[in-house]
Chain length 397, copies 2
């Protein structure tokens, strides 16, 4: 009854264990959620101001490519960071996820190949299955901080069906920021094989230790083969607004985006109103927010180092890190944390990493930690994780 | 470069002529928009109240199937109209259009067939192409007020690949309301051939001349093969909120909706807040709104009757009607209205109907009129249409 292609879409590894967390809460246990990239940072006041500014009597359909004022705000932000684009080169989407789905569909026939470093953001896998394209993993490893392999290793993966390389930097789920030299490997391969580059930069500003953002338009990659997936969910701590955008100079893609966009009418109007004001005032709140995340990153790293037999690394951006645990099956451990463990009535939820891998049987003993809680809570959550691992080690030996 | 399947998606007939309207506006011409189902009725105060009630500090991701409170509001509304459903039988979507796409994808393998009366809502065609399912037209005619053909005519269209019949009543784009007897034809065929029934009832309350709504759950159609597509866009005049919902008792479909829903994270949070309050207070504003649309329906019908050599009918619901015009190519006529005609500096935009047909070369001389303007403006718009047709008739003879 259910189509095979639909059954082929995997449930989110970030969300599928939520019923266990809900059950724990019903038993009166407090659950620290480090499983989902839902920041606790307040949505900036500018966002709410923007919403309040909407004084129309009718909450009407907007243009399929987004409100003109919203596109203007995106353009000004992009110009400020050194990317010269025009408003017609911006397409507002219903969250970054819609942007990914549209681009897969526009560029890929059924079965076409898109390279992506794995582990990768799990929704690439589910949206890729929906679009029936083939994601081909570029192997990266926890021991190397998930940095890219040598160019020749990536080159081996390119076939006649390869359409694009997807690069998410700063990376979800790894927190890795690719260096200019790494980006150049991709640029050279993209040019050599005439590929598209899909650049997911929703964490663009989330850079630690003074790292620099690599503006892809300062490389030699052909401008009309660059597609940027962006979103204000993380930047403005406004995940529930469902506003993202695609930036590209490719006119054919833009015109096709408009056709697909018409079929779903328009992105949400009110969220765009919030975006307009937030972009204008982002300098006022972004710096402080990134500093906060860097402090949290330090806490998570320090706390993880205290755990025996764990493999981890210093994440360079975004607000995620990955740890390889001394357990056989991380998912079983996470379930156990939620069903059979607590520390003073509290426990912690993280995401099992296997759902972020395209390859079978990878990441079975790895977890993603999203450090989206303020420092004191984060410390406690990490303590719970450590104590939980010790206890789990004792009972499973 | 662009995939064939993407190129196969047609641009919206409702939106694709907008550049001509914008050009007219730049020349100082006022354009009455009867092309798009964007009501001028104010969004109810309850909707804005709901938004103002959102006091969270963080605009966070909601559940993939919608906020619990929003599902509760939908359940209470459905219970009130006599459909017994539970909250877990409701899935909140990002507009009705997302619901259509998800259901096509969940039920249909590539190439599977879905029957639908034509002309049909144009976005079914584009979303069907995106999902790569095959929409098979059930022929209906302006001369018959677009009512359904005999059962045996529909039965001829059913093959081994037929998965479902799609019924939109009150209908967009025709304004036709199918009688209980017509619905029974579909019910009997659905049972005989074990099909799903996809019921699009976003205009459920928009019934004129005291017509009754047929509750599908009072027929003998198997409950677990009914899928209702619904939306608050028209009911609450809140098209820009992008909130729709699917109602079904089929557990497999519900669980699959959750998987696809996770891949796009969640529907917009703020729109759901507006929905919650609006559902609670809908009795306060719905009656008046429907009366307003019925008055407008009467105006459009009376005005159309004044036009020579036109074929039309009395629409029974929604806020659309169709007219067959004494022109060869309605699209050329619409462009002409926007580029070369005005009455005291004003002109009118309607939608060419060919884009609402699946069959080639149908509807070439038909238009859809959305009566979404208040009475005086509507009268003027209809006068412009009449004068335009007279003038166009003279110059094209």
């Amino acid at each position: 009854m259910i189509s095979f292609r639909s059954k082929n879409v995997p449930p989110s590894p970030i969300r599928r264990l939520i019923p266990y967390a809900e059950e724990a809460k019903r038993r009166g246990i407090k659950v620290y959620h480090l499983n989902i990239g839902q920041p606790d940072i307040p949505t900036p006041e500018a966002f709410w101001e923007g919403i309040r500014k909407y004084k129309e009597k009718v909450l009407s359909y907007g243009p399929s490519d987004g409100l003109r004022e919203c596109k203007k705000a995106v353009r000004e932000y992009y110009n400020k960071i050194g990317i010269e684009i025009m408003e017609e080169e911006i397409f507002i989407t219903t969250g970054g996820s819609e942007g990914i789905l549209f681009i897969f569909f526009i560029l890929g026939e059924v079965g076409d190949e898109f390279l992506i470093p794995e582990p990768c953001y799990a929704n690439y896998i589910s949206l890729g299955r929906m679009a029936q394209i083939n994601l081909v993993p570029i192997e990266t490893k926890v021991e190397e901080g998930f940095h890219l392999p040598e160019k020749k290793e990536i080159e081996k993966l390119i076939t006649k069906k390869t359409k694009a390389i997807i690069i998410c930097s700063p990376n979800n789920p790894t927190g890795t920021v690719y260096s200019r030299e790494e980006i150049n490997r991709i640029v050279e391969l993209g040019i050599k094989y005439n590929l598209f580059l899909i650049l997911d930069e929703v964490y663009r500003e989330f850079l630690f230790d003074g790292r620099e953002w690599v503006n892809i338009f300062t490389t030699s990659f052909p401008m009309d083969r660059i597609i940027i997936i962006d979103s204000l969910s993380k930047r403005f701590s406004a995940c529930g607004a469902r506003i993202g955008f695609i930036v590209t100079k490719n006119k054919q893609i833009l015109s096709q985006l408009m056709v697909l966009g018409m079929a779903r009418l328009c992105p949400p109007t009110i969220g765009q109103m919030g975006a307009i004001e937030s972009f204008k005032k982002m300098d006022e709140f972004m710096g402080e927010m990134i500093e906060e995340y860097e402090r949290r990153r330090n806490i998570v790293y320090e706390e993880l180092k205290k755990i025996k037999k764990i493999t981890t690394y210093l994440p360079e951006g975004a607000f995620y890190t990955i740890a390889k645990l001394p357990v056989e099956d991380a998912e079983e451990f996470i379930k156990w944390l939620l069903t059979s463990f607590h520390l003073n009535g509290r426990t912690v939820m993280v995401a099992p990493l296997d759902g972020f891998y395209l390859s079978q049987n990878k990441g079975k003993n790895e977890i993603r930690i999203a450090y989206v809680l303020e420092e004191e809570r984060l410390k406690e959550a990490m303590l719970i994780l450590r104590k939980g691992l010790e206890e789990y080690g004792r009972i499973t030996q």
